[in-house]
């Protein structure tokens, strides 16, 4: 069928800020959809309040809105833009839920808007577990035994029937949020209460446990003519029990016979047909018991998903792009396969490689949340690697996850056998390493021992013997390598198994350089293969590559004119979508200027790994070794390292040593900026000011340094991103606690001890410089008080409360630093202002997290400006710096006011205190745009899902320090009609100042206490600043409880003040959507 001509404009709903379970995969899919629909001639209106995205870059869609994904704003957009249709299947669960809300509110009917992609009915059918279960049964398929409950007592009678363990999930949440496994009576009660609270419809599903069964996922596409294909089959290495987002997975399915697989495939297609998905992609998950052949349908999502992004990268089949075309009426056989350019999309990709995905956890940041994995997703990112064999792909994917493993490696020899076996039986995030350690130890006793160990592991973990055999082969190979000088064949085998030179060196006791030399001498080289969707049957048009070793190499080099862009790797806290957007935009900018680009990245969720973003795409781990091989293969020397966060910077020196010409700021300058001593000298030279600081390599030195600079002190390890392991110590006791937990402390890796500037205002500045001229994109003021990590603090552009003179000083300081370092490209500086004095806190000679936000709010694409510099057009030529004058340009906000608010995923980590501090914990960000600060802040807050109250009761409990500064905030709230409750101490202070507050008991003071009030819904907002602002205080339970009950809370007075402005705006009752200029 040809495309529909009865619709001309389409509203596409994005997925909003990034949270665990909903990450940049929806920027990727939404971006593909927008492009495809515009190519088809439709006018596309986009709404997504996530400023980090590529899709919200001006020019991507015809009109871009960054308003909250809430019914009133969407209705206002529909009223303004009059779209004929809305596409909600590209924005994850958020967009689907919003579509259902819009339908329920009658918005679609009122404005005559059609829902395309998946109808409201099919969304409802797939999402309503009860209805879905009925459908599964009608199709002659099996669901887990389950029951929907709306109360605890109902749930307990179900538990009596099914027995333990049980799976408990709330209805209508994303990524299995709020779901868990209960093994004991107590766990069951807690889990059920939690699930009921999480569910927007106060309904939970209780299921029989399928723990230990094999788990599979199929990505299916179906069109309006009832043609259906399975694009990709995925097998989880971790059996049922671990959320698929937290499992290591492999595509295609490895362990099913053709009969078993075809049965699953047919079932998946029948489910799409039954649900009524007839113009797009969906995924269907299955559990399978190989012992008796029972196949259980777990769930289906009638939309693109994280796994469809993975499947697209793993197969080369662009699911979202094709889905968008199907949504406007095309059939699969009318959509050309972009990779081959000549075959059609009504086929099923054939792989001649294995594609392995490895999740990345933040164990260090949320240690308590990772005791055990479960049905609720906890990983923050993932890496993908392709290899000609599973073992090769697995080793590559693990090292690509960048969490300290060079592949599937044995754990420390100190780990005793009992601990390892306990890990094997648990759902520990490092279980696979425990499994491998046992096999590796067995390998030294011979292959029979490996087989016996594998058998026992299979019995105790549920891992399929096939995986264990492959792990065992790797262990045997490692054993063969150990201690020897490997000859040609063995060396080739090691490289084909995905071992790095460094790992082979460690095993053999040789130096990595010697390994590289042996490889060269033996003529063993990496070979690159096309990802061609058809296992070589047809010629591929699109150069999308992965590496293997010692095979026939494919593709011709792009040549010396090319430029290689090192991506940012898997999402992690502190390095996420923002950096991918910078990489993507740079590739586009270079290509606009006629340069050929080579993208290297390992994150399958991203836009940068869409094969048509760059001239060449390599899915490879981001290690120096892997990137150097790509450089050689493509014969490029220009390498961009400024855009992908810390990952590319860390390898810059090695790349340069291998012959790369690092684009922009030199490696030496980068190192000078990151070297604290050299940097301090530079600051002194320029007559600027830093907080008093010391470097200390031993615990005693740290204590001495703290005394010297004076408490409170900010403590941070050198060379880290996202403030990992950063802390603020107010007392010696707190300092000692930090030292007892500090990860690495040595004279080579010292700790920085800074005087902490309490009650300072902090600012972020992003600039681009060409060596002479400097363009300051903008100055952003943090809303949270100093000490909160810049990634976690809300910020406002332009600064809300600061004096012009200080801003001028910041611009001048930025220019001076940029010139002194010799920045060519990006520079990010964090400043603090305390008592009118300007301090330089931190300088990063690279693109920062705020670059995409600032680019959108200022209307200047800073990445394009940097690429302009790198291709020979200085800032004057680009018109960003006036032709005459001081060589400094400054950007202005084009949207009135713009607020960036941090988005957290604390609800994933039960019991985690959401207190903000110097260590970054946010997973995403939202933007709010308004004509005044209040509107911008209100929108930004709303976009993170927080519900600021219009009226009601505010609970105030502040530390002594804040008791003065909170007064005007409380007065304003009373003026806005709120009543006030407070702890005894705070209430007394308020009373002294003529404010009456209801006294509420603390938890230890008896009942009814503040928790009781929260639970009974008598508190609508919480202002709670902890005692000793960044100490790990005892009032964390308050914030945990507020989080659980979705009550807005602020932990700083400055944020409370901003909230008041926002509430003032909300009370005006204006809902105005504002397109990006």
């Amino acid at each position: 069928m040809p495309k529909r001509t009865d619709i001309t404009s389409i509203l596409l709903i994005g997925s909003g800020p990034i949270v665990i379970g909903q990450a940049c995969e929806f920027d990727y899919s939404g971006n593909q959809a927008v492009k495809a629909l515009r190519e088809e001639g439709y006018r596309v209106i986009l709404v997504n309040p996530n400023p980090a995205t590529v899709m919200t870059t001006p020019g991507t869609a015809d009109v871009i809105y960054m308003d909250p994904l809430e019914v009133p704003y969407i209705e206002d957009i529909i009223r303004r833009e009059r779209p004929d249709a809305v596409l909600a299947t590209m924005g994850g669960q958020t967009a689907l839920n919003l579509a259902m809300d819009l339908e329920a509110a009658g918005v679609f009917a009122r404005h005559g808007v059609e829902v395309i992609g998946a109808s409201i009915d099919s969304i409802r059918l797939a999402e309503d577990r009860g209805e879905f279960k009925k459908l599964v049964s009608r199709l002659g398929l099996e669901s887990p035994r389950s029951a929907l409950v709306t109360s605890l007592s109902e749930a307990l009678s179900v538990k009596a029937e099914f027995g333990l363990p049980l799976i408990i999930r709330p209805s209508y949440t994303l990524g299995g949020k709020g779901g868990s496994i209960a093994y004991t009576e107590d766990e069951a009660v807690t889990a059920i209460e939690h699930a009921l609270a999480e569910s927007p419809v106060h309904t939970a599903l209780i299921e029989e446990s399928l723990i230990g069964w094999q788990e599979f996922e199929l990505e299916v596409m179906r069109d309006a003519a009832d043609n259906a294909v399975v694009v990709c089959s995925i097998e989880n290495i971790d059996p049922m029990g671990v959320h698929t987002g937290d499992s290591i997975t492999v595509a295609p399915v490895q362990t099913l016979s053709d009969r078993e697989y075809q049965r699953m495939r047919t079932a998946a297609i029948e489910i799409l047909r039954g649900v009524g998905v007839d113009c797009g992609g969906s995924n269907v998950q299955f559990a399978y018991n190989p012992a008796d052949g029972r196949m259980i349908v777990i769930e289906m999502n009638p939309r693109v998903s994280r796994s469809s992004a993975l499947a697209s990268k793993a197969t080369g089949f662009p699911i979202a792009r094709a889905s968008a075309r199907l949504a406007v009426g095309y059939t699969l056989d009318e959509v050309i396969n972009d990779i081959t350019g000549k075959t059609v999309s009504s086929f099923e990709p054939a792989l001649d490689y294995a594609a392995v995905k490895v999740p990345r956890f933040e164990l260090e940041k949320f240690p308590e949340g990772y005791a055990s994995l479960g049905t609720q997703m906890k990983s923050v990112g993932e890496s993908l690697a392709l290899g000609r064999t599973f073992g090769e792909a697995l080793n590559k994917a693990i090292r690509a996850a960048e969490y300290g493993f060079d592949g599937l490696e044995a754990l420390s020899p100190d780990t005793d056998g009992q601990t390892l076996w306990e890990m094997v039986q648990s759902l520990h995030p490092r279980r696979i390493f425990a499994v491998y350690t046992l096999l590796r130890r067995a390998a030294s006793e011979g292959t029979d021992a490996v087989a016996r160990t594998a058998e026992r592991i299979a019995a105790e973990s549920g891992y399929d013997p096939w995986f264990l055999y492959e792990f065992g082969e790797l262990a045997v190979l490692e054993n063969q390598l150990a201690g020897g000088d490997p000859a040609g064949e063995l060396l080739l085998e090691a490289k084909q198994a995905g071992f790095t030179d460094g790992r082979i060196a460690r095993l053999t006791g040789l130096a990595p350089k010697e390994i590289a030399a042996s490889l060269d001498a033996a003529g063993i080289r990496p070979s690159y293969h096309f990802v061609d969707t058809c296992a070589g049957e047809f010629e591929a048009d699109t150069p999308y590559f992965y590496s293997s070793w010692g095979e026939a190499d494919e593709g011709t080099p792009v040549g010396t004119d090319g430029v290689l862009i090192v991506g940012s790797g898997p999402n992690r806290i502190g390095q996420g979508l923002e950096f991918d957007t910078c990489c993507t935009l740079s590739s586009m900018a270079y290509r606009n200027l006629g340069r050929k680009t080579v993208m290297v990245n390992s994150n399958p969720e991203t836009v940068s790994t869409d094969f048509n973003v760059s001239d060449r795409l390599y899915i490879e781990p981001l290690t120096a070794e892997d990137v150097i091989h790509v450089m050689r293969k493509e014969q490029v020397s220009d390498v961009v390292v400024q855009l992908g966060g810390q990952t590319p910077l860390n390898m810059a020196e090695a790349l340069e040593a291998a012959g790369a010409r690092i684009v922009g700021t030199s490696v030496d300058s980068i190192q000078d900026a990151e070297d604290r001593e050299k940097f301090s000298a530079l600051i002194r030279r320029l007559g600027l000011r830093q907080p008093e600081n010391r470097m200390a390599g031993t615990a005693d030195d740290v204590r001495a340094a703290a005394e010297e600079v004076g408490y409170p002190v900010l403590l941070r390890p050198s060379f880290v991103l996202g403030g990992r392991s950063m802390t603020i110590a107010y007392t010696v006791a707190e300092l000692n606690r930090f030292l007892s937990e500090a990860p690495v402390l040595s004279p080579e890796r010292p700790i920085l001890v800074d005087r902490f500037l309490e009650d300072a205002f902090e600012y972020d500045v992003d600039a681009v410089a060409d060596g002479t001229n400097v363009y300051v994109g903008g100055i952003m003021q943090h809303i949270e008080a100093a000490g909160v990590h810049s990634g976690d603090s809300a910020c406002v552009f332009p600064p809300f409360k600061s004096d012009r003179a200080v801003e001028t000083e910041m611009v001048a300081a930025t220019a001076a630093i940029a010139r002194e370092i010799g920045v060519s490209g990006f520079l990010n500086i964090q400043y603090a202002v305390q008592d009118g004095l300007l301090y330089v806190l931190e300088v990063n000679p690279r693109a920062s997290r705020t670059v995409p936000f600032l680019s959108k709010a200022s209307g200047v694409d800073l990445v394009a400006a940097a690429v302009g510099i790198w291709t020979g057009r200085d800032l004057r030529a680009q018109g960003l710096v006036a032709p005459d004058g001081d060589g400094i340009g400054v950007g202005a906000c084009v949207t009135g006011w713009a607020v960036k608010e941090a988005m957290f995923s604390f609800d994933r980590f039960t019991g985690h205190d959401p207190l903000l501090g110097p260590e970054m914990r946010s997973t995403g960000e939202a933007i709010g745009i308004g004509v005044d600060f209040g509107e911008a802040f209100a929108k930004a807050t709303m976009a993170t899902g927080a519900r600021l109250p219009h009226e009601g009761r505010v609970f105030v409990a502040v530390n002594d320090h804040d008791k003065e500064t909170i007064l005007p905030v409380v007065r304003d709230l009373i003026e806005l009609g709120f009543s006030v409750a407070a702890t005894r101490g705070t209430a007394a202070v308020l009373f002294e100042h003529g404010i009456l507050a209801e006294v509420v008991l603390k938890v230890h003071e008896g009942h009814p206490n503040v928790i009781d009030h929260i639970r009974s819904g008598r508190i609508d907002m919480l202002i709670n600043t902890p005692m000793g602002r960044f100490t790990r205080s005892d009032d964390g339970y308050l914030r945990v409880e507020a989080l659980r009950h979705r009550i807005p809370y602020t932990t700083t007075t400055s944020a409370a003040r901003a909230a008041v402005e926002a509430i003032r705006h909300l009370k005006r009752g204006e809902t105005v959507a504002r397109p990006l200029p």
Binding site: A225, D226, N227, A228, V229, P252, V253, Q254, T255, L256, S257, D258, R259, Y261, Q262, R263, R265, T266, I269, R273, P290, T331, L332, D333, K342, T343, V344, S346, F347, E348, P349, A350, L351, D352, Y353, A354, R388, T389, F390, A451, A454, E455, P465, W466, L468, Y469, G472, H529, C534, A535, G536, E537, F538, E539, E551, A552, E554
Partner: protein
Amino acid sequence: MDTRDDSFGTPAALVLADGTVFRGTSFGAPPREVGALTKSLAAGTAADSLTHLGEVVFNTAMSGYAEVLTDPSYTGQIVAMTYPHVGNYGIDERWSESGPEAGRTRRVKVAGLVIRRLYHGPVRPGRVRLADYLAENGVPGISGVDTRALTLHLRTHGAQNAAICAAPDSAEMPDVSDATGRAVYAGLAAELSRFPAMEGRGLIGEVGTTTSVEIEPAPDGGTGSGPSIRTGGPHIALYDCGAKANIVRELQALGCRLSVVPSTATAAELRATGADAVMLSNGPGDPAVLAHQVEQTRELLGTLPVLGICLGHQIIAEAAGGRTSKMKFGHHGVNHPVRDEITRRVFVTSQNHGFTVEEESLPPGMRVWFRNANDGSVEGLRDDGRRIRSTQFHPESAPGPTDSRWIFREFLAAIPGFEDVADPDDAATEGGQ
């Protein structure tokens, strides 16, 4: 328990007629030493060999190696699987696709198996490991081959004869990069290029039943394709040129009684079964040399409903006056899109053919029913007047998607008295019309 023999894991090579050599290691039956193989080819003693050498083709299915190994249509061919891991789930004898071959013993039909990586670990109870299975059946395999390079080579230069061989004295296989190494292989390559090419090679004498066999309906047919729609279906004469077991299972499941007749039978003998229709099976080799079968089919066309799959489809085309020709490397896999030219529906199909029907040669009345959505080639024919139906692809799948199983009902509906077999409601649940 390890049944690997001495040759397991020893150096081996796949030598192509054009002189290209792919090195790997042996599994399954021991390969023959390169010199000995060359000599026996030169002497003509290997002239009719169905193992160790044959036309090498690549198959892009990612599962289903057991069905591929036992599919009679692969007789005379070495199969290279493009998916690197093979053997992952072992082999169950019940998955065999060899039909009711009374009088034959050759269970594995491929001449050799070429793979990138072998799984040799434990398999589920009731299954055997791939290497053991091939060894028991006297068929050599070679693993560790750069199957991607082989596939690209065949895509560029076309399918051709090849042999799996071992090094002299089980030493390293000689390297092709030096002259002495090349010389070792050159002789074998020369002999392979003299060995009968698939084009012009008749192979159906090697497969299919040698005597007539009667098969009763079986409601479940063992196919897992759902309940039988009725008993008392039509009586089908299966003209067995190497029928896949799943064709038999599927017809049984649809309530058909089958008379499986050898491919040497005449039209009169087929008619004498009293069947309501004749099904021409799949099978190996070049259809253009099957003068006898084409002639018998020509006699039958118009007198009885005739249904054909794969080789059967090609025979029907030739019998109707059309021509077939050799494809460069054919279609071997389970992901080929085929469009129904009547309904415009598209199906993902299981395919295994190296020859194709030339559309321009088709006589009037014979319309193209299915067409390959990628290359436009003829994938099925239909003549409603003479009650002829055929498909180039495999609606019985095995391996591959079952989406086009409905075609069997569609076939049966061409038989007078059984028109209502293709109940549209039933068909719809199978993704049919």
